[in-house]
Protein backbone atom coordinates (compact mmCIF):
# COMPACT_ATOMS: atom_id res chain seq x y z
CA UNK A 1 0.00 0.00 0.00
CA UNK A 2 1.23 3.46 -0.88
CA UNK A 3 -0.38 6.71 0.19
CA UNK A 4 0.59 10.00 -1.43
CA UNK A 5 -0.10 13.00 0.79
CA UNK A 6 -1.96 15.97 -0.77
CA UNK A 7 1.01 18.35 -1.15
CA UNK A 8 3.12 15.71 -2.88
CA UNK A 9 0.22 14.61 -5.06
CA UNK A 10 -0.50 18.20 -6.11
CA UNK A 11 3.10 18.57 -7.24
CA UNK A 12 2.98 15.30 -9.22
CA UNK A 13 -0.21 16.32 -11.06
CA UNK A 14 1.14 19.82 -11.68
CA UNK A 15 4.35 18.44 -13.17
CA UNK A 16 2.56 15.79 -15.26
CA UNK A 17 0.14 18.33 -16.75
CA UNK A 18 2.78 21.04 -17.28
CA UNK A 19 5.05 18.59 -19.13
CA UNK A 20 2.26 17.29 -21.42
CA UNK A 21 2.47 16.21 -24.27
CA UNK A 22 5.86 14.94 -23.14
CA UNK A 23 6.46 12.39 -20.41
CA UNK A 24 7.32 13.83 -17.03
CA UNK A 25 9.30 12.11 -14.29
CA UNK A 26 10.25 12.61 -10.68
CA UNK A 27 11.24 11.20 -7.32
CA UNK A 28 8.88 10.29 -4.47
CA UNK A 29 10.21 10.80 -0.95
CA UNK A 30 8.71 9.55 2.28
CA UNK A 31 8.86 6.64 4.67
CA UNK A 32 7.90 2.99 4.89
CA UNK A 33 6.51 1.43 8.04
CA UNK A 34 5.33 -2.18 8.27
CA UNK A 35 4.97 -2.37 4.50
CA UNK A 36 2.86 0.81 4.30
CA UNK A 37 4.49 3.54 2.27
CA UNK A 38 3.70 7.21 2.72
CA UNK A 39 4.94 9.88 0.31
CA UNK A 40 5.24 13.37 1.77
CA UNK A 41 7.41 15.02 -0.87
CA UNK A 42 7.46 14.73 -4.66
CA UNK A 43 10.41 16.18 -6.54
CA UNK A 44 9.89 17.01 -10.22
CA UNK A 45 12.94 16.00 -12.27
CA UNK A 46 14.22 16.76 -15.74
CA UNK A 47 13.55 14.19 -18.43
CA UNK A 48 17.02 13.46 -19.81
CA UNK A 49 15.87 11.12 -22.59
CA UNK A 50 17.57 12.13 -25.81
CA UNK A 51 14.91 11.83 -28.47
CA UNK A 52 11.16 12.17 -28.68
CA UNK A 53 9.87 12.44 -25.10
CA UNK A 54 6.20 11.94 -25.94
CA UNK A 55 6.55 8.29 -24.92
CA UNK A 56 9.97 8.03 -23.27
CA UNK A 57 11.66 9.27 -20.12
CA UNK A 58 14.98 8.94 -18.35
CA UNK A 59 15.34 10.65 -15.00
CA UNK A 60 18.26 13.09 -14.92
CA UNK A 61 20.79 11.58 -12.50
CA UNK A 62 21.83 14.98 -11.16
CA UNK A 63 18.24 15.58 -10.08
CA UNK A 64 18.24 12.19 -8.35
CA UNK A 65 21.41 13.10 -6.43
CA UNK A 66 19.77 16.36 -5.33
CA UNK A 67 16.57 14.53 -4.33
CA UNK A 68 18.56 11.93 -2.39
CA UNK A 69 20.31 14.71 -0.50
CA UNK A 70 17.00 16.40 0.28
CA UNK A 71 15.47 13.15 1.53
CA UNK A 72 18.37 12.62 3.93
CA UNK A 73 18.16 16.19 5.21
CA UNK A 74 14.50 15.53 6.05
CA UNK A 75 15.25 12.17 7.66
CA UNK A 76 13.26 10.47 4.89
CA UNK A 77 13.97 7.99 2.10
CA UNK A 78 13.50 7.77 -1.65
CA UNK A 79 10.56 5.37 -1.84
CA UNK A 80 9.94 5.45 -5.57
CA UNK A 81 9.53 7.33 -8.81
CA UNK A 82 6.69 8.71 -10.89
CA UNK A 83 6.27 9.34 -14.59
CA UNK A 84 3.42 10.16 -16.93
CA UNK A 85 1.87 8.53 -19.99
CA UNK A 86 0.62 11.32 -22.26
CA UNK A 87 -2.64 10.28 -23.99
CA UNK A 88 -2.14 6.71 -22.80
CA UNK A 89 -3.46 4.61 -19.91
CA UNK A 90 -1.55 4.18 -16.65
CA UNK A 91 0.08 0.76 -17.00
CA UNK A 92 3.59 -0.53 -16.40
CA UNK A 93 4.98 -1.13 -19.89
CA UNK A 94 7.70 -3.62 -20.76
CA UNK A 95 10.05 -0.66 -21.30
CA UNK A 96 9.15 0.69 -17.85
CA UNK A 97 9.83 -2.74 -16.33
CA UNK A 98 13.14 -3.20 -18.15
CA UNK A 99 14.46 0.17 -16.93
CA UNK A 100 13.13 -0.01 -13.39
CA UNK A 101 14.67 -1.18 -10.12
CA UNK A 102 13.17 -3.68 -7.72
CA UNK A 103 11.71 -2.58 -4.38
CA UNK A 104 10.71 0.93 -5.48
CA UNK A 105 7.14 2.07 -6.00
CA UNK A 106 6.57 3.25 -9.56
CA UNK A 107 3.58 5.53 -10.00
CA UNK A 108 2.37 5.89 -13.59
CA UNK A 109 0.03 8.81 -14.31
CA UNK A 110 -2.24 8.93 -17.34
CA UNK A 111 -2.63 12.46 -18.75
CA UNK A 112 -5.19 12.93 -21.52
CA UNK A 113 -5.38 16.18 -23.49
CA UNK A 114 -3.21 17.86 -20.86
CA UNK A 115 -5.46 16.88 -17.95
CA UNK A 116 -4.66 14.21 -15.34
CA UNK A 117 -6.88 11.16 -15.82
CA UNK A 118 -5.84 8.32 -13.47
CA UNK A 119 -2.81 6.71 -11.86
CA UNK A 120 -1.54 3.29 -10.80
CA UNK A 121 1.47 2.08 -8.86
CA UNK A 122 3.67 -0.94 -9.51
CA UNK A 123 6.58 -2.75 -7.86
CA UNK A 124 8.99 -4.76 -10.00
CA UNK A 125 10.35 -8.12 -8.86
CA UNK A 126 14.07 -8.71 -8.22
CA UNK A 127 14.99 -9.81 -11.75
CA UNK A 128 12.67 -7.30 -13.44
CA UNK A 129 10.63 -9.95 -15.21
CA UNK A 130 7.27 -8.90 -13.74
CA UNK A 131 5.69 -6.08 -11.77
CA UNK A 132 2.89 -6.32 -9.22
CA UNK A 133 0.27 -3.58 -8.96
CA UNK A 134 0.34 -1.83 -5.61
CA UNK A 135 -2.67 -0.40 -3.79
CA UNK A 136 -2.41 3.37 -4.44
CA UNK A 137 -4.16 6.09 -2.42
CA UNK A 138 -4.01 9.79 -3.27
Amino acid sequence: MIRIEPEAWKEMVRHAEATFPKECCGVMIGAEENGARRITLAVACRNAYEGDQKDRFHIDGRDQVAAERRARELGLDVIGYFHSHPNEDAYFSSTDLKHSWPWYSNVVMSVRGGVFSHAKSFIANDDQTAAEPEDLHY
Binding site: I59, G61, V65, Y91, H99, W101, Y104
Partner: protein, 91 residues
Protein backbone atom coordinates in the same frame (compact mmCIF):
# COMPACT_ATOMS: atom_id res chain seq x y z
CA UNK B 1 37.24 7.77 4.48
CA UNK B 2 34.78 8.67 1.75
CA UNK B 3 31.07 8.37 2.37
CA UNK B 4 29.04 6.16 0.04
CA UNK B 5 25.29 6.84 -0.05
CA UNK B 6 23.30 3.64 -0.47
CA UNK B 7 19.96 3.77 -2.34
CA UNK B 8 16.97 2.37 -0.40
CA UNK B 9 16.68 -1.02 -2.26
CA UNK B 10 20.33 -1.91 -1.58
CA UNK B 11 20.34 -1.18 2.15
CA UNK B 12 19.26 -4.75 2.84
CA UNK B 13 22.77 -5.80 1.73
CA UNK B 14 24.62 -3.37 4.01
CA UNK B 15 23.06 -4.13 7.41
CA UNK B 16 20.25 -1.62 6.74
CA UNK B 17 22.66 1.31 6.74
CA UNK B 18 21.89 4.33 4.53
CA UNK B 19 25.56 5.19 4.08
CA UNK B 20 28.89 3.43 4.53
CA UNK B 21 32.29 5.03 5.15
CA UNK B 22 35.04 3.29 3.20
CA UNK B 23 38.67 3.86 2.25
CA UNK B 24 39.92 4.43 -1.28
CA UNK B 25 41.33 7.23 -3.38
CA UNK B 26 39.50 6.37 -6.60
CA UNK B 27 35.93 5.29 -7.33
CA UNK B 28 37.22 1.81 -8.21
CA UNK B 29 39.00 1.49 -4.86
CA UNK B 30 36.04 2.85 -2.92
CA UNK B 31 33.63 0.39 -4.55
CA UNK B 32 36.08 -2.49 -4.06
CA UNK B 33 36.31 -1.66 -0.33
CA UNK B 34 32.53 -1.45 -0.16
CA UNK B 35 31.87 -4.76 -1.90
CA UNK B 36 34.64 -6.52 0.04
CA UNK B 37 32.98 -5.41 3.26
CA UNK B 38 29.51 -6.30 1.91
CA UNK B 39 29.92 -9.11 -0.67
CA UNK B 40 26.15 -9.42 -1.24
CA UNK B 41 26.22 -5.97 -2.76
CA UNK B 42 28.62 -7.03 -5.48
CA UNK B 43 26.15 -8.81 -7.77
CA UNK B 44 23.86 -5.79 -7.58
CA UNK B 45 26.55 -3.41 -8.77
CA UNK B 46 28.67 -5.51 -11.11
CA UNK B 47 28.11 -7.99 -13.93
CA UNK B 48 29.73 -11.46 -13.83
CA UNK B 49 32.47 -9.97 -16.01
CA UNK B 50 33.20 -7.39 -13.33
CA UNK B 51 31.77 -4.40 -15.16
CA UNK B 52 29.56 -1.84 -13.46
CA UNK B 53 25.95 -2.65 -14.38
CA UNK B 54 24.35 -0.36 -16.96
CA UNK B 55 21.48 0.59 -14.65
CA UNK B 56 23.88 1.67 -11.89
CA UNK B 57 25.31 5.17 -12.07
CA UNK B 58 27.98 6.47 -9.74
CA UNK B 59 28.30 10.11 -8.80
CA UNK B 60 31.17 11.76 -6.95
CA UNK B 61 29.49 14.72 -5.29
CA UNK B 62 27.45 16.15 -8.20
CA UNK B 63 29.39 14.59 -11.07
CA UNK B 64 28.61 11.43 -13.02
CA UNK B 65 31.84 9.39 -13.24
CA UNK B 66 31.02 8.41 -16.85
CA UNK B 67 31.89 11.99 -17.80
CA UNK B 68 34.97 12.07 -15.57
CA UNK B 69 37.55 9.29 -15.37
CA UNK B 70 35.09 6.44 -14.69
CA UNK B 71 36.59 3.95 -12.16
CA UNK B 72 39.77 6.04 -12.00
CA UNK B 73 37.91 9.19 -10.88
CA UNK B 74 39.64 10.41 -7.76
CA UNK B 75 37.85 10.48 -4.43
CA UNK B 76 39.00 12.73 -1.59
CA UNK B 77 38.33 12.28 2.13
CA UNK B 78 35.45 14.75 2.19
CA UNK B 79 33.80 13.48 -1.00
CA UNK B 80 30.42 11.79 -1.16
CA UNK B 81 29.99 8.91 -3.57
CA UNK B 82 26.35 8.27 -4.48
CA UNK B 83 25.03 5.07 -6.04
CA UNK B 84 22.27 6.34 -8.32
CA UNK B 85 19.75 3.91 -9.85
CA UNK B 86 19.24 4.58 -13.54
CA UNK B 87 15.46 4.93 -13.95
CA UNK B 88 13.81 5.20 -17.37
CA UNK B 89 10.86 3.94 -19.34
CA UNK B 90 8.37 4.50 -22.08
CA UNK B 91 5.44 2.86 -23.82
Amino acid sequence: MAKVLIPTPLRQYVDKKDSVDVTGSTVGEVLTSLTTQYPDLRKNLYTDEGKLRSFVNIYVNDEDIRYMSKDATSVAEADTVTIVPSIAGGF
